[in-house]
Amino acid sequence: MSDPLVELEQLAVHFPVARGRAVRAVDGVDLVIDEAETLGLVGESGCGKSTLARATTRLVPISSGSLRYRGQDLTDADERRLRAFRRHVRIVFQDPYGSLNPRMTVRQIVAQPLEIHRVGRRSERDDRVRELLTTVGLDAAAASRYPHEFSGGQRQRVSIARALALDPELLVLDEPVSALDVSIQAQIISLLRRLREEMGLSYLFISHDLAVVRHIADRVAVMYLGRIVEQGARDQVFDRPQHPYTRALLSAVPDPNPATRGETRRIRLHGEPPDPADPPSGCRFRTRCWKADDLCAAVEPELVGDDGHVAACHHPE
């Protein structure tokens, strides 16, 4: 079998804080993203999912473990060696207000990656910008306008057009719809689904919203306090969750339908995630888990399971 597109092995990103301590934002993650596949990554704030997005795109230094792209180890590669990787792996951020330069026109914003990578002549670049804007559902006339003239949803379309400029293979989407209104959110999700089909793209789709992830991901990984606690095909994770944390997350999603509301029993987690600079011993979830016992405090569980569905828990469902 050919190499996967991206492969993370025991990847860790630690940020040093005072007195020799370190925030272990990402602490030993194994992930694989195949060609034309969407991997959904879910977790709550502070679990390390955004840091993992930045490590996967080599925007933060990797403390240990490895990042491979098409079989090539890029963990410590310099910018010259990263050149092809930077073309083919692009990131889209949550905040469509903060991630577009307000002093640049949409044409300049979308053409910037082309200029940096010296693709085409100016007139060719202009044509490409028009084509990209049409692809993401914007009017080609939008090119001469500035970001502030657009709504949040339109700005996110501009960000996506910019990310597509260099014909990428993988888009890392970090909470791409979280700042948008519900009706706009549905528009962007359906745009992303269409682009994926038309261009054969892979996505690493990061979100705290499980219902959104269920609508776009082929496979799902659940992250808690720097670690993946469960991973599997979408239906495996959503229909047969094994890790107590996944079950709690799923049960906490509010159901808008009055007819089915109340069918799932709410699992009440007490407290909030612990400090990632000082994670609990053994299983990191044990301080909030209703199943935790002495074994959980003593031994850190490994990701185990079959048929591609794995969970790190001593007492799985």
Binding site: E44, S45, S151, G152, G153, Q154, D181, V182, S183, I184, Q185, A186, Q187, I189, S190, R193, H208, D209, L210, A211, V212, R214, H215, I216, R234, F238, A248, L249, L250, A252, V253, P254, D255, P256, N257, P258, A259, T260, R261, R266, R268, L269, G271, E272
Partner: protein
Amino acid sequence: MSTGRAPVLDVRDLTIVVGSGRGARTVVDDVMLQTARGETLGIVGESGSGKTLTMLGALGLLPDGVHRQRGDVTLGGIDVTGAKARTMRALRGRDVGMIFQDPLTSLHPSLRICSQLVEGLRVHDRALTRRGARSRAAELLERVQVPNARERMDDYPHQWSGGMRQRAMIAMAIMHEPSLIVADEPTTALDVTVQAQMLELLAEARDESGASLVLISHDIGVIAQIADRVAVMYAGRVVERGAVGEIFARPRHPYTAGLLASVPTLRDVPGELSVIGGQPPDRTAVTGCAFEPRCPIGNGELACQTVRPVMLGGIHEVACHVAQVSELA
């Protein structure tokens, strides 16, 4: 006003305008809202729909450049539209508790949590000693389930997590036993597991005090979970109103129906998300229905373009020409 049936908050024909002269635009248009004791009213709508401005307008808290053009508001039977700023402040302080999305904007960053609660308690109860207020503050924090409240109450806001800060906000909102609690996107910045805890806490606060709770949110799931009645807002107007179970099960306005269908849930078929095209306008329509350009049924209809729809129906009201037509058919 001890009849019990009288609404705690009664808003009639509230119209709010941003700017003045030729640049003026109507952002809240003829809004009617009533809430009773012990009841939760959900106001749902997307950004710019006027849901927050409606409540700020009702409570006399509109920012500069935004003003109430007309409308009557009573709070506990007292007319507040003509009230002086000083009277309003006293009324709000005692009778209204407010909770906002981001607790950091409401908590002073360089004052200890405890001092902020003590100050709030003593402003409206001059007889309360500092020590008495401190012990009352601790009770309040315990009531909203802040862990180790007595040890942690001398912390500064940045030392608390988002969920704990939101608990402190709830404690401040309920400290004078208000008759009305207004929560504007109280769970939006929180994680799902913490969000669920917070909604339970709000419902408890409402039940214990018998207060009326107004919950403003863009999140239909949150509204469905806690509200008894709901008002759906679009472009400054209430377009549909009624019991939450009824409206979410049988929406009559095409906007409500489209909004409900575009919310991803854990139950629908993955990938089948319905999409409302276009985007919400930033002001209300001068003539006709503001949703007409995006409406799958009424788009292009003369009545929808030219005649302003009025709220019709008994316990399930809707302001829509095409919904009324289909109802007759």
